[in-house]
């Protein structure tokens, strides 16, 4: 399998051109184009309902775009069959807003679930080691046998992150990772996002409303407005902007 070391840092791992997505009469994404380069974190900002989550759901093929191209690792997502899409998804980690932990399984079973299906050649010992390793990485080694209902919001997010990184993804898609968390836990999640980027050499798209999280984690920020990319730039560009829409987020 390809790994991120084989891709140059100035090469895009995701390239989106002219993405369009509507739900009935409601046009959500009208013309979105962006690139995610190898090893970088980009934060996507915008008002609620602007289509930020729709954007990353289109990337993993959970939603089908009406028009435009999404190229991930030089493959057009729209042209992949179910098997090829499954193989591509193995390289992409998706952290859901709600955590999406499987209620009927313990934390251990939640982590083993994708591992047993994606890394089929691992032995029982290797699976156990990998599960323990990621749980330690997210600071919840003692939660192994707990049920998701016994976890707090922050713990659920961490376990969900652990379940995502357990299969060594090359791209991480975070859907509002700090929403609904207190400021301290939000900072911890932001730190974890940076740790994951460094340790697993991932490239990430972070969908967020949390400006602090965007400032802490992103190498680049993209702001969406009215279905299009409104502004793209470094964190400093957004901090110094006098644009009323950007100021309403950053000041």
């Amino acid at each position: 399998m390809m790994n991120t070391d084989q891709i140059k840092s100035n090469e895009p791992v995701i390239e989106i051109n002219g993405l369009k997505k509507s739900f009935g009469q409601q046009e959500v994404l009208i013309n979105v184009s962006l690139k995610l380069f190898n090893g970088e974190n980009i934060a996507v900002l915008g008002k609620s309902g602007i289509g930020k989550s729709v954007l990353i759901q289109c990337i993993v093929g959970l939603l089908t775009p009406d028009d435009g191209a999404i190229i991930v690792f030089d493959k057009n997502v729209a042209s992949l069959n179910r098997k090829e899409l499954g193989e591509l998804r193995q390289k992409i980690g998706f952290l859901f807003q709600s955590g999406a932990l499987y209620d009927s399984m313990t934390v251990k079973q939640n982590l083993e679930f994708p591992l047993r299906r994606i890394k089929k050649n691992l032995t029982e010992n290797e699976i156990e080691e990998k599960v323990n390793e990621v749980l330690e990485n997210v600071g919840l080694a003692d939660a192994l046998n707990k049920m998701p209902s016994q976890l707090s919001g922050g713990m659920r997010k961490r376990i969900s992150l652990a379940r995502t990184i357990v299969v060594d993804p090359m791209i991480m898609l975070y859907d509002e990772p700090t929403t609904g968390l207190d400021p301290v836990t939000s900072d911890e999640i932001s730190s974890l996002i940076i740790e994951v980027q460094k340790k697993y050499k991932t490239s990430s798209i972070i969908i967020t409303h949390d400006i602090k999280c965007a400032r802490n984690t992103a190498n680049r920020i993209i702001m969406l407005s009215e279905g299009e990319v409104y502004k793209e730039g470094k964190v400093a560009d957004f901090n110094n902007s006098t644009d009323p829409l950007i100021e309403s987020f950053f000041k």
């Binding site: 959970l62 193989e87 998804r89 859901f96 709600s98 499987y102 209620d103 299906r117 994606i118």
Partner: protein, 279 residues
Amino acid sequence: MKKFHPVIKVKGFATKHSIKLSEKTLAKKEAADNFLTDLADVMLFITRIIRETFSPNFEFKEFFRQCFQIGYKSLPLISITGSIMGLVLTIQSRPVLVNFGAVTLLPGMVAVSLIREMGPVITALICAGKIGSGMGAELGSMKVTEQIDAMEVSSTNPMRFLVVTRVLAATLMIPLLILYADALGILGSWAGANLKGDVSFVLFFNQAFSHVHFMDLFPAVIKSFFFGAVIGVVGCYKGYNAGRGTESVGVAANSAVVLASLLVIIVDMIAVQITDMLI
């Protein structure tokens, strides 16, 4: 003044009455379109279930877990309802048979009634309530909390893992539960017969089974498989296609019970007609 918005413009000929009529026609057309779309959706869902059932990497572990959930965990409820069914049927029928001097036919009558009709239909309706609603609510809440999407993005086919296992487990377990309910029903009937008389266990069962023939049991078992499949498919379809809000979980569970119960009755009617033609 009431305003009428022309739906179909007919130059110079559109009257208030014709506009009203066209609105009604369009509403009916939309309802018919929706019905046909839903029907096509269900057919596609069933086709996917069949295709995924025969594809490699069958989820055996989840299938056995579902068999345990649907079969073993329904035993207490089916035990109680099955035995009460036989007991009540006996108590209600006994005075009539006594009047006709045919009380010796009681075990046979109860056994045939239970095996042919009451056991399968009542047990299937109870299963539609317990198992159908359970599937609708479970899969519906998994949809709402993005667990099905999480499965999809982690390269697991949720249709194969969640739906196929549940539908197959229901198709296999519900006929077993029905046979179990039949057996307990006859046992309950023996208890009922002994409330106002004294019948030995062996004599009662000998008399009961002397009236039961292969063609009483065989069509009942076959239709039980269809009941199981209907309950499984409806429960999973409603849950899997639930909306995004929490309200849709309740709607999925509720509509799963209503539709599954209705379909059980319809399947039973068709099965009775076919059996009647064959015998």
